[in-house]
Amino acid sequence: MAATQTGLHHRSYASELRIWTSRAQWIRLGLLTVLLLALPWVLDNYWLSIVNTALIAVVGAIGLNILVGYTGQISLGQGGFLAVGAYTSVILADRAGLPVPLSIASAVIVTAVVGTFFGLPGLRLKGLYLAIATLASQQIILFIVRRWGWLTEGRGFVDVSRLEFLGFRIQRETFEQQWYWILLIIAILAVLVAVNLFRSGLGRSFMAVRDQDIAAAAIGVNVARAKLTAFAVSSGFVGLAGALTAHYTEVISWERFTLDVSILYLAMIIVGGLGSVAGSVYGAVFITFLPVVVRGFAEFAGGFAPFLQAQLPAFQNAVFGLVIIVFLIIEPRGLNHIWTRIKDYFGYWPFRY
């Protein structure tokens, strides 16, 4: 049990079920709030755009973690589901004239339905076999996106109009700031929904399927239904992330949704921590910032090692691969577990355990 929980005496089940219980947690929450409120004033547009990208990745990573980390269904179809969300929302908003909030909500539902359909092989397949089946879904969706001319009106990419709803319009000068607030609110809601899901019975049944599907069935969990629900909920999150990507970047094309993206998201949840909402957040932020930091390092080191800058993409990929290997070997439970250990260290101090 975590050291931060010692000395806490709950007097009701309700108080025990709260997300923030200890004083340390409230203090950390306060500091985080101050930080998040300060960011748009502290950061310039370049860094804020990376933060915004990370916030979208947070939503997508939580979605993938619901499926892979919590339900134990390996998925390589993340890129495809992002594409479904992106194209659905853009076509509904820009061509059918739906207000953007409604088009995004529709994208969530459409992606959830598509995800459930591609989750059907999960009823029969496990582990690597399921990974291959979801890889097929990734390729099928990407094939459709690439070859179906109607989607892009034959141009191969789609321009997305600037975000505008209910009289609110994103301004050119404060583009990143305004998006920051929108994405921050959505990311916070996504985190809360996921946390709620896993402190209630539905989320528990997902974890039961992950740990022991036979025992889950023997205590009355409809395993097939739990798996499909997990695919639906997970794809809903991913569809949301896809739709946000489309409206934020204002242009979409198939290159944004390749298998590389699926693997990138898997890396996020592995580095962050499988089966942990907080881990999804840490992983999404870490993996989004990693190439930026690596580029910064290459520029810094450019004076004495110019080849780093010349071979930047290769260098970034190498660091990316190295990070995953290091995490798999040294800390397979991810950043979330490192953070837990740090908290425990100070919680138990001056004792070792």
């Binding site: 019975g201 023997a218 205590i219």
Partner: protein, 291 residues
């Protein structure tokens, strides 16, 4: 000191004690060329501890798996009885054919079980494992779970109360928040019993709850099983190898050997049955060595 009596009944059986609760009717099960069960028939009466014994490979676990729906017998029927709640006097008998139902539907009818090799949700805490035992009694909508405040939270708290009674009955208080994967073997076995109990079973199937335990742990487990039976009034089907335990706590014993039922009755009768002695000691011809 004020003590609080248990508020919830842990048994959901509607069949009066002594009347048939579960009927295994001419069940045969084959795996390819292996005949695991040959036309096995017996009846489990409500309110009893009914033990199934037999040498290794006799088909005991296969039989349990047939009852809980993990295996489908090729022939025969498994029937569970219940009484509709409205009828008080006598009550209309309802029969459920278990062998045509998937495992999760059988669990919803109140058949809970433990496994020979512990099958807990190892990454989850004791509390979460037990709460999962409440799964069939809870409503699970994505919306209510996502919103949490309102029905989702209320039901978590309501079901926690029964779970706490099970924790109390099985003395798991010290382990509530520990992941079950990190617990000692004997405690894991107890958690598995607890998870099955949280279902408020009409019938509890226990597959070797004392396997691999030392004498002291066995005694503890026997005590818990008797508590569950006597305090909570749960009907139990028990598979166990330890003869002393079986003969001490069972009210009825069925003996399997090579997939056939060779004896069925009161423990004392079964103990004296020459075929049972032969199955266990292996006598030649018809000459049976009396112990």
């Amino acid at each position: 000191m004020r003590t609080r009596a248990y508020q919830h009944s842990l048994s959901s059986s509607t069949v009066p004690s002594g009347e048939p609760l579960l009927e295994v009717d001419a069940v045969s099960l084959r795996f390819g060329g292996v005949q695991a069960l040959r036309s096995v028939s017996f009846t489990v009466n409500s309110g009893r501890i009914h033990s199934i014994i037999g040498p290794n490979g006799a088909g005991k676990s296969s039989l349990l798996n047939c009852i809980s729906g993990l295996y489908r017998p090729q022939e025969g029927e498994v029937r569970l009885h219940s009484r509709s709640a409205e009828d008080t006097g006598g009550g209309a008998d309802r029969t459920h054919r278990l062998n045509s139902l998937p495992p999760y539907r059988i669990a919803r009818l109140g058949v809970a079980r433990s496994f020979q090799n512990i099958e807990l949700f190892s990454q989850l805490t004791v509390l979460e494992n037990l709460m999962l035992g409440r799964h069939v009694h809870m409503r699970h909508s994505v919306l209510a779970s996502a919103l949490w405040f309102g029905p989702g939270r209320r039901q978590e708290i309501a079901h926690r109360e029964l779970v706490e009674e099970v924790i109390d009955l099985l003395q798991l208080q010290a382990h509530r928040k520990q992941p079950v994967g990190s617990l000692a073997y004997g405690i894991q076995k107890r958690v598995e019993l607890g998870r099955a109990l949280c279902l408020q079973p009409a019938l509890l199937l226990l597959d070797e709850p004392m396997a691999g335990m030392n004498a002291e742990e066995k005694e503890d487990m026997a005590r818990y099983i008797l508590d569950v039976h006597e305090l909570a009034g749960v009907s139990i089907v028990l598979i166990e190898h330890d003869m002393n335990v079986v003969m001490d706590i069972s009210s009825h014993v069925s003996v399997l050997d090579f997939g056939k039922l060779i004896a069925d009755g009161h423990p004392d009768e079964v103990k004296a049955d020459p075929r049972v002695i032969e199955a266990y000691l292996g006598a030649e011809d018809s000459e049976v060595a009396q112990p």
